[in-house]
């Protein structure tokens, strides 16, 4: 997958990187079992500090999207069951988004339509092996 980092954005680079990798896994652009670039290589290609990439990988690992092996490096994990903690986080974020949509005058059907279309575009790909 192609990751695009906006160096002039207010969103920190490690957050942009995390979000794009998660979206890539969700859309199936990154398959389960696929190896991610090493921290050093990703940092070199993006022109950022290795600490930034390392932070992203640690967050992704903690969230259960990737696993990190000393020999194989970082690999994408298959889609798993939503944990209770994730559900809480999702609800909190959705609550904020719903409030913003409501305050901007968006109808419930329109909001749910967007959610549905977004969810439909997600096709996590299983490992080829």
């Amino acid at each position: 997958m192609i990751i695009s980092l906006d160096m002039s954005s207010d969103t920190p680079i490690y957050v942009q990187l995390r979000n794009q990798i998660v979206t890539g896994i969700g859309r199936g652009e990154l398959r389960a079992g696929e190896t991610l670039p090493s921290v050093r290589q990703m940092a070199r290609d993006a022109g950022v500090n290795t600490m930034t990439v390392n932070k992203t990988y640690q967050i992704l690992k903690a969230e259960g999207f990737i696993e990190i092996d000393r020999r194989k490096g970082a690999t994408v994990l298959p889609a798993g069951q939503a944990e209770g903690r994730f559900r809480e986080k999702l609800e909190a974020e959705l609550e904020l988004l719903s409030a913003e949509a409501c305050l901007k005058g968006m109808e419930k059907d329109e909001f749910l339509g967007i959610c549905e279309a977004m969810f439909a575009s997600m096709h996590p790909a299983e490992s080829e092996g």
Binding site: I2, I3, S4, L5, M7, R44, G47
Partner: protein, 477 residues
């Protein structure tokens, strides 16, 4: 000597000009979303001002190279008249060529960038955007040859120190004759190290994203990295082999090497240059084919950092980036202070080298053999070479009508149709020094404990007076 010099410079010139023309050429064509090194939308290529700029650049580029190709050929004939004058003319020509080349690349680029700003052909979305293709980055270690391929030849080349040292002892080579071989040894090992360092640099170079298609990105990055690293490995091996061959010949024949050895060594050095450049040249065409077949090209509009004609991006951590105008080349990021320091040091070294060479060669412009005597010590001096010996070192002094009938090889010095100065070796005489004007007689042959000195002056009387002083001292013993 003049003929050898003529052909060496002729071949070099005839390689330099077409190589630069080919590698920098065709900037007026729309490639990788750019024309004259500036990103513009494909729809703007037919804009009258763009077409005018491109056409003007194409004409001046072609004319400039035709003129310089002819000039580079013609100036080689100057070496038959006067080789010092030739070297000066050649350096001036090279300076003119390099400056002209930079002017013809940078100025049209700046004009095109200004035109882009005037017309607002900016892709704001892609400014300050960095793209990474995870498939390419993950496969990065497989894109280039392993740097360890350099190690065997580096170790073998460095190990020839044994041959150089052993040859010195075997042939009792004195320091003035030995240092050119140590210099060649240093150059051989130094080049292998340089190629290794460049290899590591290429391996670590960031991968570029050309397309939304990872296969295209993989192919383009692999072609670039593979060709560079293959070229560097081949060049390192051929360079190492050339020096090993020279070191073995030195060990076998001593400093009086047959001409064929120098010819083979020079041939191998040219082969090393070709081994570096050929894979690079071949990869350019292949990469172009790959990129032109791409239907989902995506380009980052980072022209802001190239607006002066060189890369200046303080926000980019990379010191070396792919050159905007020549994909075979790398450019420094002048937004980083280290790049300015490196450029300053390199410029100082090149300038220092040129001044040093000029000073060294200026000694040969008006060669004057100077004889001095201080107490029991006699000194002959000419063109930066000198020979001092004490009275007790003289074994015999003779006046000769001509040089002995044997072949002398110059090991360290200067030799033209007018004079022969420096260190030589004769088949019979062995190690000797010469301070000779060609065609002037008589010649003074001074046999010392460890070598022979041949000297003469333009005036017969001067030579005779030197003979008187030296022979008198000898008789006085």
């Amino acid at each position: 000597m003049n003929i050898a010099m003529f052909f060496i410079f002729l071949v070099c010139n005839l390689i330099i000009v077409p190589l630069c023309q080919y590698s920098y050429g065709n900037l007026w064509e729309y490639r990788e979303g750019m024309v004259l090194g500036v990103h513009i939308p494909a729809t703007c290529i037919q804009h009258p001002r763009v077409r005018e700029l491109c056409e003007k650049h194409r004409k001046s580029w072609t004319l400039f190279h035709r003129i310089n190709l002819a000039a580079s050929f013609l100036i080689c004939f100057v070496c038959f008249l006067d080789y010092m004058a030739f070297l000066i003319v050649w350096m001036v020509w090279l300076l003119e060529y390099v400056c002209g080349l930079e002017y013809l690349i940078i100025i049209p680029h700046r004009r095109m960038y200004r035109l882009k700003l005037e017309n607002g052909w900016m892709d704001e979305r892609s400014r300050k955007i960095v793209r990474v293709d995870t498939a390419v980055s993950a496969a990065s270690s497989r894109l280039a040859l392993d740097w360890k391929w350099h190690l065997p030849i580096l170790v073998l080349t460095a190990a020839t120190v044994y041959f150089v040292d052993a040859a010195e002892r075997k042939f009792q080579v004195a320091a003035p004759e030995a240092w050119p071989f140590w210099l060649l040894y240093g150059t051989g090992v130094g080049l292998c190290l340089l190629f290794l360092a460049m290899h590591v640099g290429v391996e670590r170079r960031p991968n570029r994203v050309y397309s939304e298609d990872s296969q295209i990105n993989l192919a383009a990055n692999q072609l670039t990295k593979r060709s560079w690293t293959e070229g560097l490995v081949y060049a390192s091996w051929v360079n190492g082999v050339s020096w090993i061959f020279m070191a073995i010949a030195y060990y076998r024949y001593g400093p009086d090497l047959p001409g064929a050895v120098y010819a083979i060594y020079t041939g191998l050095i040219f082969l090393a240059a070709a081994a570096l450049l050929l894979p690079l040249g071949m990869s350019v065409g292949k990469r172009r084919e790959v990129l032109e077949a791409d239907t989902s090209a995506c380009y980052i509009d980072d022209d802001e950092y190239w607006k002066k004609g060189w890369y200046n991006n303080p926000g980019d951590r990379h010191l070396l980036v792919q050159d905007r105008f020549n994909s075979m080349n790398m450019s420094m990021n002048y937004g980083r202070p280290a790049a300015k320091v490196i450029t300053g040091v390199l410029a100082a070294v090149i300038l220092g080298g040129m001044v040093w060479t000029a000073v060294l060669l200026s000694d040969f412009v008006n060669v004057e053999v100077v004889f001095t005597q201080e107490g029991d010590t006699f000194t002959f001096e000419a063109a930066g070479y000198d020979c001092s010996f004490g009275r007790d070192e003289i074994q015999s002094v003779e006046l000769l009508d001509s040089m002995p009938e044997e072949h002398f090889t110059r090991t360290n010095g200067g030799s033209t149709e007018e004079y022969q100065v420096g260190h030589f070796r004769g088949k019979e005489t062995g190690r000797c020094m010469m301070f000779l004007y060609t065609g002037c007689e008589p010649i003074l042959e001074i046999r010392l404990d460890d070598m022979t000195v041949f000297v003469n002056s333009r005036q017969e009387e001067t030579t005779l007076s030197w003979y008187g002083e030296l022979a008198g001292q000898e008789a006085g013993e």
